[in-house]
Symmetry: C2
Subunit: 171 residues, 2 copies
């Protein structure tokens, strides 16, 4: 089996955010996808060790911001390679409180969706949360960041906690 | 709510195939994504009215071929806008029988995965099948087809049965 094949799947790059009481957090995700159009539902796959997982479990709400192609690497690093257990990821980030009460990152964002969790599917290391989209908007006409662009042009890397992590020896 | 936001999510373009007894079928899908890396699992979202849905339900097997960016529109039309109930979609198509016994489309294919269904999640109009990847290979180093490229450059359209279908009045 050649694991490289899985690396050819196309993804975007997103900040998935949630809240727990007054606390907010967000993380980089690449697995965000629409499941049905009527009603519009959105699925995200989140590692159960991540703080955002705990927040989504608690509040039953998540938002997803679709990142612009020119999103700077430090911005991605802030959400992707740090933990909200150690820092306040939103400290220097432009965001708004969405209609669900969860944070919506607006910096470097082409469009966003807010969703209320309808189904939670435990998949071992990761959980698929499927939510009904309750609000959404487009903020910019800029091209979006694809996972391929992030890797090939931006030379970005993937943390171990991502669904699509590939061990170095497999690359 | 601006449904256009959902249209900014990134996808690839795939032929998802399966079998039922001696019969084989496949269809275009854009929602194919990895859920976990250990073990490697793959999710697909399939409309329950589609013949491929019935075949995956029956055999518990699916394959996904990741299409090349230069895949001709008639090839996509054969798998995306026709039903295996009316025609044999594989009649003039290069494919092989995978290690699971299901067909793997090899024409216009950059890479493919074969998966055995572990979980089936009913989402109304669509079902999410999550399978453990049991075989995979890369066939070509060509760039892959993204859903955005299919729409914007190839001027491809989306059938009503797709998860990401947007009504004309919403566009």
């Amino acid at each position: 089996m050649n694991n490289q094949a899985l690396y050819k799947i196309s993804y975007g790059l997103y900040v998935v955010s949630s809240k727990k009481g007054e606390k907010i957090n967000g993380q980089i995700a690449n697995t965000v996808f629409q499941i049905t159009s009527e009603p519009p539902t959105l699925a995200v796959s989140i590692n159960r060790n991540n703080l955002t997982w705990e927040y989504i479990k608690d509040s039953g709400i998540f938002t997803a911001s679709i990142l612009r192609r020119d999103t700077p690497l430090p911005f991605i690093g802030n959400f992707g390679f740090k933990s909200g257990r150690d820092i306040n990821k939103f400290e220097k980030i432009g965001y708004k409180t969405g209609s669900t009460g969860a944070p919506v990152v607006t910096d470097n964002t082409v469009a966003y969706m807010e969703a209320r969790v309808k189904n939670t599917f435990d998949m071992g290391t990761h959980t698929i949360f499927v939510g009904e989209v309750v609000d959404a908007d487009v903020l910019s006409g800029e091209p979006v960041m694809t996972y391929e662009y992030y890797h090939e042009v931006k030379r970005g890397t993937t943390p171990k906690s991502a669904p699509s992590y590939i061990k170095k020896e497999d690359k």
